[in-house]
Symmetry: C2
Subunit: 395 residues, 2 copies
């Protein structure tokens, strides 16, 4: 199954099960959350014409070329008097332009005479250095769409419009399950045949960055009854996210439990790393099963589970930015799966980690992005490849 | 002052005042923090040769072309017996390869006969489908450098090596101060001449994403004595980050207070938006003063304050990824300051927001990145420009 087909199906399923509970949060608590409704501006921005410079406000028609008296001084935050005819006003950046003035001259083009009058050395133009009322936003305008993820910039924008709270989608609750008798938690001693569980920490911290509420459901033993019981305890979550298990052939107790009490689809994705992906549900709770090799977990989470989780919250833009960059490596042998190599930029070219084994995260920790090599494709240096910055998928 | 000169000076000052307090944190609490010491591997990864496939482990020299009996079944997590001569072992992905076996054949190339023996249909090769011990990492190897920021991937890598805790740099403590009598907090009524404070929320949530401990020091009144008192309360922080004030000319009480009890440098940066930047200290506490227009605050924080704060924590890589993309807009008039336009990618080309006024964050909320236009440069469509994804600077 091509990755775009798998993604389209997952997004369709996400849209069929949107999170429809909302909460009002103060801005300081809304970071990383998803806006539940369009944000309309309740004021004009700027609320009044204001000065873009430190300088002098004048009425161009009043200026004959002679120096002008300063009739008032207007700091930001002040409500100015109307400009007295035939005078100018000292004004600072961000301060309201007084009624009657139609121009601000920057102080660099002026000279204050001994008698305190101000001489203007350059021609003056109506509107100059004035930011008109409503230049940025007018009352009633939509400034953010429902489904926008709220980062520092969006929160700052909401604040500038006077909003102290926003209506956001409640967090998606995700249970993280690792499967495999071989797994041991870090800090414990490793027995024969055992390895440390790295996906748990990878996924829990990643999900938190994505604004999810994470339920750490531990390691699932390779035992059917225990699998059934553990899954049954997870009835309150929006998604069960498991890693491993599904590729273990005969020992796939998760698969058996899902077939008994739900549904299971096993997709053979045409991507590398990452081939097997499970989608199903257990007693109505959706389940995504990612492959257990850490690099495979990383790639399938980034490309498939992340957009699914964002779409469940109503996020419209779930595709990471990607860039065309010249390859700084050769790819002599075409594959029949799309590869996502862990790569970096070096002098504007994509280079890739020497060992692209899917076993550990070392290549990913070295990497700055995923380099996409399409199916049936060979590359010589300088050929264009798609580069997805990790920063685009990690948050 | 060119932006790269300002950045070099700030980084130098950051290196002269590194945070040298450390703490041990469990992995789950270390997200976003900076590694205080090199992480050396305490084990080989994989710890033993393991199978990359579901299939059968054999010793190539034992195979004559005849089907082989299955002498054991090895799941991941098991400690296998040595392979009985003249037999094969059923093996699953990730399971240890038994002593004596030197090849794994994937199950797709095998046939289980009626008598349970396994026929191999393809030639077998020594080493095939076996991940050798230590392929990814060997004991003592450095896998992460001191100064690495710990995201989900780095934490997963540390977990795979058995580390339950890491030694990290303590959080940088940053006080956020907004200056200006015109500022009102969102949720309150706006009086004449007043605007809502958006930089506070912008910077507080941004600093938290960067792993800082944020002290919200509120709005500084335009009054010298109050300014002195507020600054004196901030003696325990590593940085005072203020916005506004410095461009307000005569009303610059922050500047006056710094000159009295510390030092102040006012840099006229050759960037737009963002011209004035203050660097100084108050009673030994470093102060960075960003311009108060939200888009200027954004650009100067992203390009200057962010790398400064990361370097204070010992982060080596502080430069965001940037990409060369063709311009999808024209830039007919060269400027004498470097411009950072709020832009997006559209069919691989950079387009920019129609209104690049520095007044509000609307352009930034629309944007996916900053488009850099160099000094004295004009552009026609298709010319290459530098594109910095916002995701690279927001986290």
């Amino acid at each position: 199954m091509p990755v775009e087909v798998a993604l389209a199906r997952l997004l369709e399923m996400a849209e069929a099960a949107p999170i429809v509970e909302f909460e009002h949060l103060p801005l300081a608590a809304a970071e990383g959350r998803v806006l539940a409704e369009d944000l309309l501006s309740s004021l004009d921005l700027p609320p009044w014409p204001n000065s873009a410079m430190d300088g002098y406000a004048v009425r161009v028609a009043d200026w004959t070329g002679e120096p002008l008296l300063v009739s008032q001084k207007i700091f930001a935050g002040m409500a100015p008097e109307p400009l007295a005819p035939g005078t100018c006003a000292r004004i600072f950046t961000g301060a309201p332009v007084p009624a009657g003035a139609d121009c601000v001259e920057m102080q660099e083009n002026t000279e204050v005479l001994a008698d305190q009058r101000v001489r203007f050395s350059e021609p003056l133009h109506v509107g100059q250095n004035i930011r008109p009322q409503g230049q940025e936003t007018t009352v009633g305008e939509r400034v953010l769409n429902a489904g926008t993820r709220l980062g520092p910039i969006e929160l700052g924008l909401a604040a500038s419009l006077g909003n102290a709270e926003l209506r956001v989608v409640r967090k998606v609750r995700v249970a993280v399950l690792s499967t495999g008798d071989e797994l041991v938690e870090p800090g414990q001693a490793l027995g024969p045949g055992q390895i440390y569980n790295s996906n748990r920490v990878l996924l829990c911290s990643w999900l938190q960055r994505l604004g999810c509420e994470v339920l750490d459901a531990g390691i699932l033993p390779d035992n059917l009854q225990a699998t059934r019981e553990r899954l049954a305890q997870l009835g309150s979550v929006d998604l069960i996210l498991s890693t491993g298990g599904v590729s273990v052939g005969e020992a796939d107790f998760l698969g058996i439990a899902l077939r008994e009490a739900g549904e299971l689809a096993l997709w053979k994705l045409a991507i590398k790393p990452g081939k097997p992906l499970t989608f199903g549900h257990f007693q109505g709770v959706p389940v995504i099963g990612l492959p257990g090799n850490p690099a495979s977990t990383l790639v399938t989470f980034a490309l498939l589970a992340r957009p699914y989780l964002l779409r469940r919250q109503g996020v419209t833009e779930v595709t990471p930015l990607q860039f065309q960059v010249p390859a700084g490596f050769v790819w002599p042998k075409a594959g029949n799966r799309r590869e996502y190599l862990r790569g970096r930029l070096e002098q504007g070219r994509a280079i890739v980690y020497r060992n692209q084994s899917s076993g550990v995260l070392r290549s990913a920790a070295w990497a700055e992005g995923l380099v996409e090599v399409l199916e049936e494709r060979t590359l010589v240096e300088g050929d264009w490849v798609n580069f997805i910055p990790l920063s685009e998928v990690l948050g």
